[in-house]
């Protein structure tokens, strides 16, 4: 009975490790998808409505899911707390806090977008958003492939790894 219980614990631990890694892969993919959609929406708003940035951030914080939504909420909160610091500072700090799973090049892309937001004319901002969106789309596709490929590998590894440990211990 004790052996059975120990084996169950080992298997649960292994599965948790494996599926945790799978979750992170899919989580990153979801964040990139949400960020990509957010940049596309910002681009449209700046083209047709010239909406003030705080209102755009508020809307994105409300409508985007997961870490991306929290990122926009946090950017707005920081901007309102310290307007003199500017959008870029709030954007950068919120990114560090809310999007820790992004890869360095994905972070760099977002930082470049943040450098223009709210500080330039609509056309310059749109160009930066378009560039950012195109790069994020490439990162997103890459992340999707990775999630599918590595997701299966991590799941299989956790299952076989757990089984192997159990067999070794028994």
């Amino acid at each position: 009975m004790v052996k059975l219980l120990g084996a169950a614990c080992v298997m649960a631990g292994a599965l948790r490790c494996g599926f945790g890694a799978v979750g992170r892969l899919w989580g990153r993919l979801q964040t990139l998808e949400e960020l990509h959609a957010a940049l596309a929406w910002l681009e449209e708003e700046l083209t047709f409505r010239l909406t003030p940035l705080p209102r755009l951030l508020e809307e994105l914080g409300r409508t985007r899911k997961g870490a991306a939504g929290r990122f926009f909420q946090e950017t707005l909160r920081r901007l309102q707390a310290d307007p003199e610091g500017g959008v870029y500072q709030s954007w950068r700090q919120a990114m560090v806090q809310c999007l820790p799973d992004l890869q360095p090049e994905e972070r760099q892309t977002l930082l470049e977008v943040g450098q223009t937001l709210g500080r330039f004319d609509a056309q310059t901002q749109r160009q930066a958003l378009l560039r950012g969106r195109q790069r994020l789309a490439a990162f997103r596709d890459e992340a999707r492939g990775e999630a599918r490929r590595l997701g299966r590998v991590y799941a299989a590894l956790s299952l076989t790894g757990g089984t192997a440990i159990i067999l070794l211990l028994i």
Binding site: L50, T51, P52, E84, G118, R119, D121, A122
Partner: protein
């Protein structure tokens, strides 16, 4: 009390300045702060302010390009794109009714200024409220027909808007005259500074404001919908404004308006105003002159005869 209020208006406008510059303005004595009409920021030069005595520089306050960008970012609530479309006006109206004049490298499309990059200087004109400023002229604006349509004239920065705002307030409140419903076409938000539907500046209890729409449209909307007895409009600059004023005058509404100019002769040299004056709409003209001891107001009839 008035001094404290005037200083408060400056402090409100100075919130748009970066911290170190804001602190220098805040450190000025109360009486001095109450006198400030404008703050001027020029890249690489010290911050300065304008009073009736002239332009005074604050030493050791070199303004940087980043400072100018920060002011614009704060004035636009981190949304520079929303105000750059206004640069063709030469300035941007900011919350509180203040006016931010912009100067830099222009971007011209189709012969018209469409954008600005590399700001070189900014002027932040403080919206001022001086209750009772109009008392000197108000009694002279009433004739046999009641309130005469009045044109306020002065060179730029002469205090036309401040006088107009106080006239609106006094007429709307019935201060020293019978109260009247005043329709205010406030295209640039300088007269009433409406925020969330409520005027931030005192324009009296019987005033209705149409803001953020072209003056001509605002005037016609007020005429149709709000049944004003008096229509007030700041800075007539477009033929459409003149057309709307002619129509309003034909409806028996008294007009209060301002225009740039040092004298009636100045107006006569500009076709836009020549037409307006030729119609004899304005029964009174108020001329504002800057003198060493302050501003002087003189009232004439529409032909330039002292009243």
């Amino acid at each position: 009390m008035e001094t404290a209020r005037a200083a408060e208006r400056l402090d409100q406008a100075a919130r748009l300045l970066p911290g170190p510059l804001r602190q220098r303005v805040a450190a000025l004595p109360l009486e001095r702060r109450a006198e400030v009409e404008e703050l001027r920021l020029r890249r690489g030069r010290p911050l300065s302010f304008l009073t009736s005595e002239g332009e005074i520089f604050l030493p050791d306050t070199a303004v940087t390009g980043r400072d100018l960008d920060t002011v614009l970012e704060l004035a636009s609530a981190s949304s520079v794109h929303t105000v750059l479309a206004q640069v063709k006006n030469g300035f941007v109206a900011v919350p509180g009714g203040h006016r931010l004049g912009l100067c830099g490298t222009g971007v011209v499309e189709g012969g018209a200024l469409t954008n600005l990059r590399e700001l070189s200087s900014l002027s932040l004109r403080i919206a001022r409220e001086f209750r009772g400023l109009c008392w000197e002229v108000l009694p002279k604006l009433w004739g046999a027909r009641g309130l005469e349509s009045t044109l306020i004239l002065s060179p730029p920065g002469g205090g036309k808007t401040t006088l107009l705002r106080d006239l609106i307030r006094a007429i709307s409140a019935g201060e020293g005259c019978p109260p009247r419903r005043v329709g205010v076409a406030d295209e640039r938000g300088e007269l009433a500074a409406v925020a969330n539907g409520e005027p931030a500046l005192d324009i009296g209890p019987r005033s209705d404001v149409m803001s953020a729409c072209p003056k001509a449209v605002g005037m016609m909307t007020l005429l149709r919908g709000m049944n004003p007895q008096v229509l007030a409009v700041d800075e007539i600059t477009q033929p459409e404004d003149v057309e709307a004023m002619l129509q309003a005058a034909g409806c028996g509404v008294a007009l209060l308006a301002t225009a740039h100019g040092g004298s009636l002769a100045d107006l006569d040299r500009r076709p836009l105003y020549r037409r307006l004056m030729a119609q004899g709409i304005f029964g009174r003209v108020v001329l504002i002159e800057n003198a060493a001891d302050g501003r002087r107001y003189s009232v004439t009839d529409g032909e330039g005869r002292p009243w």
